[in-house]
Amino acid sequence: MNELIAVSTGLFAGTITGIVPGAGVMVAMIIATPLLMHFDIIQLLLFYMSLASMVQFTGTIPAVYLGVPGETNSLPAVIEGTKFNKRKMAKLAIGICAVGSVLGSLVAVAITYGLLSVLVEHMTVFFSNATKFYLYIFIIAFCLLVYNKRNILVNLVLCAIGFMLSVPGESDISPDFRYTFGIEDLQFGIPLIPVLIGFLIVPTIAKMLSSSNPNVFLPNVDIGFCKVIKHFRKKLIPSSLRGSIIGYLCGFVPGVSTVLSTNASYSFEKKLHPNNPGKLLVASETANNSGQFASMLPLLLIGIPITGSEIVLYSMLVDAGWSPFQFDNVSNNADMIFRQIVPWFVVANIVGLVIAWPLAKKVLNVFANSKKYMIVILGIGMLILNTYLGILDYRVWLYTVCLFVFSCMGLLIKKYETVPLIFMFILGNDMEGVFFRQMLI
């Protein structure tokens, strides 16, 4: 019964967190703290697992319909999902993502089960600087070679802008603040949300406004679930399997985990099938779920959190009586994963599939009825979100100025794919540290 309560509340929280842009797993964990204080260790793990899994399902809905990334790992869903929406096929996009997510989760469980002893023995390989170094080389190469019709010069400029935006504030390798120009708020770097809104959402809104069609949110073609399954089985299984494996491996990389899973898988698939939004979408979303499961394993097996939300979970686990020193307990932890976590993980994914599908239909009805007014709501919503997060971060003026500046820049470069810029902005600081350490080691 206790497990059911934990999974149910986790799924509920995940459903809401996924459809509210900007509300990630970490935010949900913090908001749910008063409830989680009463949970035991297994309940905490089940809550987190259900929450994180469910977010992957419902997070696709605003990404596809609104072009708004719920989290940084939703970027491919935004880019490819909106292409489906323009063709009145948003429901198909949601469907194949949901099915792919389930497949990704199951593949992740299967790999873990099959390779558990190898994983336990060699898990720390993923922690090494060299692993991150080569993965970043791979990501940079793909950023340069894949986007904007393979225009390397344009991609290079976008990468450079993204990296420069990541530089102000405290670096990964030095305690000093740099390039703050006397602005104290810049000591903590340029905030993420204005960058995402300015370079991703504002250009999308501008494109919607300039569209000749007065109805921006077109009535979508109603596609049955069986047809989605059939389409998936016929055309998307190889992409989904590739995404599962890439996502699983990248999921172990500390700090970037599912962001890397999604984007690496997306970039790889884009190289193989540059003009197939379905395969690109499925590969990235499958990788997301697969990576999510993999990212939990270092914490579950050896007690080392590798993502921000896991650090919050870890703190709660220790408060609930979990020993911070899990290295002596690996076999018991492995047993716990397969006996107590995995069965509920499978249930959570099936529930995710069941919920995401009708929920998408509801959301579709709302958007289809509201038509162009949704653009206004979206614009105002983003402004409120930016201001609210700025207030929470005690840097509301910086958030506002950044939003204005980046929105203008976003409009100027609206004809380009800005993914390389955003990706370099998110990972720039970490990349700098990894490259610097690689030179020393």
């Binding site: 090494s128 670096s171 390798i173 000591q187 903590f188 959190p305 921000g308 703190s315 911070p324 929470l392």
Partner: protein, 273 residues
């Protein structure tokens, strides 16, 4: 019409849940704690949280906040989450204010422990020097992971000039680095060093030479001695004792004067020359 009503209802429920969530987390004062014992004339205090979610500063600040509310204080909780911004807010505050602090921050933040702000030395812990089993027979320069804020000169004096210092963002990143095989040695805090020893990959020793970290509580615009009594009582509560015991933290409880003197002595070790 029915569909629209249903949609409206769903939207209302979602909004209500999130409003509730935000109310719960941005409590000033925490409404769910109003049932706890209140003094007749509640004293107000601002508690600044300088730590990130999941970190020790955050966890301890939350426990202090809960303890102060239970003791009858009207607590205004400022959830800043960044040490330098928290220090700035602390310096500018004209109201009764307290926050969790530590001696390894004093030079960087330019906020030192003095008679005007010191409340308590909560615990102290040494830095540990860990070495991988694989590097025991290694000849040549050893690679040493250290926190980016550590004084390189101090580390070179301790470990010799024939080492390559590799800076990491924080203690967690260092632990992952040494487990991943990046470096031969690391200089890390007690918690992460214990974890490393538990991995069986290497050994650690507490350093007598490197400065000890002292976790403190500071305040201003309030009777520090009165607040110290309340804070001390809070640290003797079960959650705090469990927190210290689990992490094997040493509590140097003494008089206010002696704790201040010890803290001031310890903080000198972090001066970057």
């Amino acid at each position: 019409m029915k569909i629209k009503q249903t949609q409206g209802l769903i939207a209302s429920i979602i909004c209500a849940i999130f409003m509730l969530g935000f109310l719960v987390t941005s409590s000033t004062p925490s409404w769910w704690e109003l049932g706890s014992s209140q003094a007749e004339t509640p004293e107000s205090i601002t508690v600044i949280n300088s730590g990130k979610a999941g970190g020790s500063f955050n966890a301890r600040t939350q426990m202090y906040k809960d303890g102060l509310v239970a003791a009858g204080y009207n607590v205004t909780f400022e959830n800043v989450g960044k040490i330098s911004m928290a220090v700035k807010m602390f310096k500018q505050s004209n109201e009764p204010t307290m926050m969790v602090y530590s001696n390894n921050q004093v030079y960087k933040q330019d906020l030192f422990h003095t008679e005007q702000n010191f409340i308590m030395l909560e615990y102290q812990q040494p830095l540990y020097v860990c070495r991988t089993n694989a590097s025991k027979d290694k000849s040549g320069a050893l690679t040493v992971a250290h926190g980016k804020g550590y004084d390189p000169q101090l580390l070179t004096n301790l470990l010799g000039s024939d080492v390559v210092l590799v800076p990491y963002k924080n203690s967690g990143a260092m632990l992952k680095g040494i487990l991943g095989g990046d470096v031969d040695m690391m200089v890390n805090n007690q918690g992460k060093s214990f974890k490393y020893m538990a991995s069986g990959e290497g050994t650690c020793e507490a350093s007598d030479t490197l400065p000890k970290m002292g976790a403190t509580v500071i305040g201003k615009n309030i009777d520090l001695q009165e607040l110290r009594k309340v804070i001390f009582e809070i640290t003797m509560s079960l959650p705090f004792i469990e927190y210290h015991t689990k992490r094997k933290l040493f509590r140097p409880s003494s008089t206010w004067q002696k704790e201040l003197a010890l803290t001031q002595e310890l903080e000198k070790g972090y001066e970057v020359k």
